[in-house]
Subunit: 330 residues, 2 copies
């Protein structure tokens, strides 16, 4: 059906990547103030990320949250915690027999103060202590599990709510330490990410870079806590899960013959910084905890807005994926 | 490089077209008033056309222009006129030896009143009289050749100028009769098209439908007027010209095996109607002249704004074209 020797380009995928690189910067725009809905819509239109330095610096959360304040406000409450051996929740892991599995974390309820103490103690010790804990339930938790804290952040991101004509679908709180990492993945959401405590480092790839991420189908599974408290791998029934294997930072996950044409966008968020993370971008992230000032935790809030499926963007993304997958039949 | 038998879809082009059809209407949105810059930007973001019925009904041009008024205002002036045997300017034409040529029209200066008389007389006679004349210089003619008339239209389209952050690159006046047709073509512009006199019918295809339009490379040429006044075909040196062969209305130009998956958007403009024609859409159009009320001419004005090349849209369009061309190597 598709002839590799066809003019005018012998490799449409390579040309897609190089054309994009020629026309776009690999540094996101840095705004010094919150955009208007129209300014934001121009970024949505281009599906391009931007950062607003200090965009949330006047939020009560940014000004007042600390480990002590959070423990006081959440005193006596139990929260859902994702537990993994190495901080790799929702990530590809090679099993003992060499098969790649897509593993979800073990989830359990923990007393909030005890969870915080574990995270801080681990960060301070510099060792992993057998498991990594991350509060990361992406189910609108800030308006539910953590509703006590919700009054300290903006109830919506007005420029996004007005431009996209919808309130946030979910508002999520994230608390962890520098051992939590997020593997390259994508979401069907227009995402506004706000750093409250600590630093977070993102590596981002545009949706048209599918051919670079080395998507493979993996058997599903999850970690489960054994009777001795240890974390075991449990395979699950169900459909195989497509997931990206590539690590743009070169710490293990292998790429494809196109990965070298990707120009990852790198951006670091500090206290009060705001990031627009456009729909369907591939995102990899890790935390950096500045011990001296930040009490040994990283804390962030993000706002997910349903993306637009009308128009050409979503079909084009699926097309790039299908052509890429077709190119890698071994 | 690209394997036709690859999972998960054996034909990414077919899936691109059907996904788009599932998520989009083939009728453009009909607005009853001029959009705000933000509302316009949402359409730009989706690369989706819309019509504003009566959006220019209060323009002085819409209210006052007639054949008599135009002849009076342009009295004594000479204008550039495109002349073709059958109304097909900038179109593929099969030569006597069977080769497809891409032919530009013969262009000559004519007295405006004589040009108008020819157009009207031809429309009234119902016969073609050997040639078709169309004032269609797409070189910002309304601010140059026809600057006498420019005061009667809006100097820019404010919602587009504000949203796109640039004034119109060109503002063009078009005067012809029902014999002028425009073959399927695309422009690198965000286009606002305003009908002043008569009716115009558009057939539109989104940029992702490249595989449907049957683009072929053709030798360039143009019509030239011979010594006896007749129009002759002149081949020209120069690069071959890629151009769409398909006629979605089935009046000749052949399609591809994918053309049946296209869902052309059809829209008719009447007096004072405004159309947003998004960048890189394939456009085919013809005129309809309502003799009784419109004096036997069609007249329109359009505003071209440079499109955005940053972001993913433009690279995706080139990718769809390259994959489509690769699929048709015979």
């Amino acid at each position: 059906m598709i002839d590799p020797a066809a003019p005018p380009t012998s490799d449409p995928i390579a040309e897609l990547l190089t054309t994009y690189n020629d026309l776009n910067s690999s540094s996101p725009d840095e705004l010094t103030e919150i955009p208007s809905p129209l300014e934001f819509m121009r970024y949505v239109s281009r599906n391009q990320p931007f950062v607003v330095r200090g965009g949330a610096s006047d939020w009560k959360a940014t000004r007042t949250w600390s480990v002590d304040v959070l423990k006081e406000r959440m005193a006596g409450m139990r929260v859902n915690v994702a537990v993994t051996p190495k901080g790799n929740a929702d990530a590809p892991v090679k099993s003992e027999d060499g098969e790649m599995l897509f593993l979800k974390p073990w989830e359990e309820e923990q007393d909030f103060a005890q969870f915080m103490d574990f995270v801080i103690q681990q960060e301070g010790s510099g060792e992993m202590n057998g498991e990594v804990r991350y509060a990361q339930t992406q189910n609108d938790n800030l308006r539910n599990e953590y509703s006590e804290l919700f009054t300290d952040v903006d109830p919506s991101i007005p420029f996004a709510r007005i431009a996209l004509q919808k309130p946030p679908e979910a508002i999520n709180l994230w608390i962890g330490n520098s051992h939590s990492v997020t593997a390259l993945h994508k979401d069907n959401y227009e995402n506004i990410y706000v750093q409250i405590i600590g630093q977070k480092h993102f590596v981002l790839l545009p949706p048209l870079a599918y051919a670079c991420v080395n998507e493979k189908e993996m058997s599903p599974g999850s970690y489960v806590r054994g009777e001795g408290g240890e974390l075991l791998v449990k395979r699950e029934d169900g459909d195989r899960v497509p997931f990206a294997l590539w690590d743009p930072d070169g710490r293990g996950g292998e790429g494809t013959r196109y990965s070298g044409l990707a120009r990852p966008v790198r951006v670091s968020l500090g206290k009060g910084d705001m990031l627009y993370l456009p729909a369907l971008w591939q995102v990899q992230s890790y935390h950096k905890v500045s011990q001296s000032c930040e009490d040994g935790i990283c804390c962030a809030v993000n706002y997910w807005h349903d993306m637009e499926f009308g128009g050409s963007f979503y079909p084009f993304c699926g097309f790039a994926r299908n052509v890429a997958l077709g190119a890698f039949v071994d």
